[in-house]
Amino acid sequence: MERIVTSVTTTLRAIVKRPEAPEESEDRTNVSELDRTRRTVRIAMGILAVVVVLGLLVVSFGPLLWLFKAALSTSQDILKYPFEWWPSGIQWQNLPDAWSQIRIGQYLLNTVWMAAGCWFFGLLVALTGGYGIAILRPKYAKAVNVAVLATLFIPGVVSLISLYVTVLDVPLIGVNLVNTFWAVWLPTAANAFNVLLVARFFDRLPRDVFEAAKIDGAGVFRVFWSIVLPMSRPVVGVVSLLTIVGSWKEFLWPLLVLPSPDLQPLSVGLYRISDTAPTSLLMAGMFISVIIPIGLFLLFQRQFLRSAGQAGAIKG
């Protein structure tokens, strides 16, 4: 086990580290500048660029554009004319109808509330844990670190059922968290990848700063609040994006622990009504539910793409 952990962590580290490499300075890829001076190569590269961008527009953006069209169509138009723009006119009414009639507004609010809690508790655990493991380093830090990393290598399927049983009756406290947002917030906060990410970031911070602060009499909390937190903006950004988008995509777990429709997030709500709701309203609801994640993505595309390389490797 130990050896597997080390061998995988070295590879993971290689991936995590990569974005910090001086990526902008050297832009030499397979095709060289010399190649690019040749006319045939330049024409080929131009064609390639057009083909790639157009192809991606159709494949990646096309379905979203279609969703936009469908969100403003009548059910009849959606089912009968998939490639025509609003033959029966644009149905703006779909959006408010979906909002109230199939309760998309309620689901959206639940999703925001769920994501906010996941964000807060995820950050709390990752930042305090990362601080303890990478900066405070008491004797037991190593053991904690290994125990946290070990959860990365145990397939998630092992604990699905037992996690549900745990949430039904939390040991020692004896509370039932089902049908409360705590049932989503707390388990998602136990995210080893976030802890790993923060700990690796803290590892690279200059230690003399903390030692100087300690000599000046700053306690553990003071150092955390006044020195570590202000320095950790980049990693806070990455973990925030990951936890918010991650909780927005969550489906199976909220389906299990939030059986009450009053608490369900968009993903579960949309699934539950997908067979009964009118197609036009369902499409409008789906459209509403992708606006926020896509907006966040377009706003923070560079941060997203940079953290994707780091996070995707685990979430797979």
Binding site: T11, T29, L48, P82, I135, P293, L298
Partner: protein
């Protein structure tokens, strides 16, 4: 005064205050009374340090570590969460293995994983290699490639379910109609249902892998390409002798992660087909879900979880061992 001691080193104060420095420093640790050790621990901020670990220890303790142990208990018990659980030994495992649907689900899951590898594994590598060569359009392609990943899986599945509408006016059937083909019952056809799900799943996830490969490609040292070029290697030869070997460790890891991920597939078939037609898209995780939440048999469900986890762990261990040998050679 402890202020001059190196901070955060719990033992420092005690070690310096003793007579250790006057002796020729034996490598053995000095014995301290537990009381003195506790006092030193308190003096060096042991309590606030420990408090910093509390959020992590509580959440991981309750929701990561304990459930793993709990699985090992549940799998050997009969429990429906209503009555008192009873120990049943290996009965849960026997009942799982005797379920004819298990082999259907295992076959389907392996089929899903195999199709996902076939369709979804080489694509991101190829895509990233092409995107790495683009200059001005690299950022826009990256954004487009990653766009589907941002969409919540349920929305993506429901959208594609609409595309797979079996009627003549369904989106994909309309396209087929342009070529005089179809209509096809994509999700209703026992043979086509699984590939249809895999195509949707690939659409929804391939962006992540592409971005990871792209990051790896951009960090390949320029000197390697320069040297190959000076030696007269063509672009294709450079791809074979420089790019792929440099990507090898990332490719090997991604392959393993994809296998582990696809073997635990749930949302896509669950929302798309619910396991039909004729159980052709029931996966192992859906079977676990059914045992626990439809039949209320939590012991049986946990037993199957453990079996799947053991298989995945063995596969990973063997895979890592094999690939490490290749990497070393």
């Amino acid at each position: 005064m402890t202020a001059t001691a190196p901070p955060f080193v719990v033992d420092a104060a005690v070690d310096d205050s003793g007579t250790a420095a006057s002796r020729p420093a034996p490598p053995r640790r000095r014995r301290r009374s537990p009381l003195a050790a506790t006092a030193a621990w308190l003096r060096n901020g042991g309590v606030p340090t420990f408090l910093m670990f509390v959020p992590l220890l509580l959440t991981f303790g309750y929701f990561a570590w304990w459930p793993i142990l709990k699985s090992l208990i549940l799998a050997f018990q009969h429990t429906d969460l209503m009555t008192e659980p009873t120990w049943v030994g290996l009965r849960n495992f026997e009942r799982v293995l005797a379920d004819p649907l298990l082999w259907t689900a295992a076959g389907n899951t392996v089929w899903f994983a195999a199709l996902a590898l076939l369709i979804g594994f080489p694509l991101p590598i190829l895509m990233a290699m092409v995107m790495a060569e683009l200059r001005r359009s690299r950022q826009i392609s990256s954004v487009l490639v990653y766009l589907p990943v941002i969409i919540p899986p349920v929305v993506s599945v429901l959208l594609w379910k609409q595309f797979y509408d079996p009627s003549e006016s369904g989106l994909f059937n309309t396209v087929l109609g342009w070529f005089g083909l179809g209509p096809v019952g994509w999700l209703q056809d026992p043979v086509l249902a699984m590939p249809s799900i895999v195509i949707q799943a690939t659409w929804a996830t391939a962006g992540t892998a592409t971005i990871i490969y792209l990051a790896a490609l951009m960090s390949i040292q320029a000197e390697l390409y320069d040297a190959a070029e000076v030696d007269g290697a063509s672009v294709l030869q450079r791809t074979w002798h420089v790019t792929l070997p440099q990507l090898r460790s990332v490719i090997l890891l991604m392959l393993l992660l994809q296998i582990i991920g696809t073997m635990q597939v749930f949302t896509d078939p669950f929302v798309m087909t619910g396991g039909g037609p004729e159980n052709r898209t029931v996966t192992l995780l859906m079977l676990i879900y059914n045992y626990a939440f439809l039949s209320g048999d939590f012991g049986k469900a946990t037993a199957l979880s453990l079996l799947l986890a053991v298989v995945l762990s063995v596969v990973s261990a063997v895979y890592l061992r094999l690939t490490r040998k290749w990497s070393e050679s």
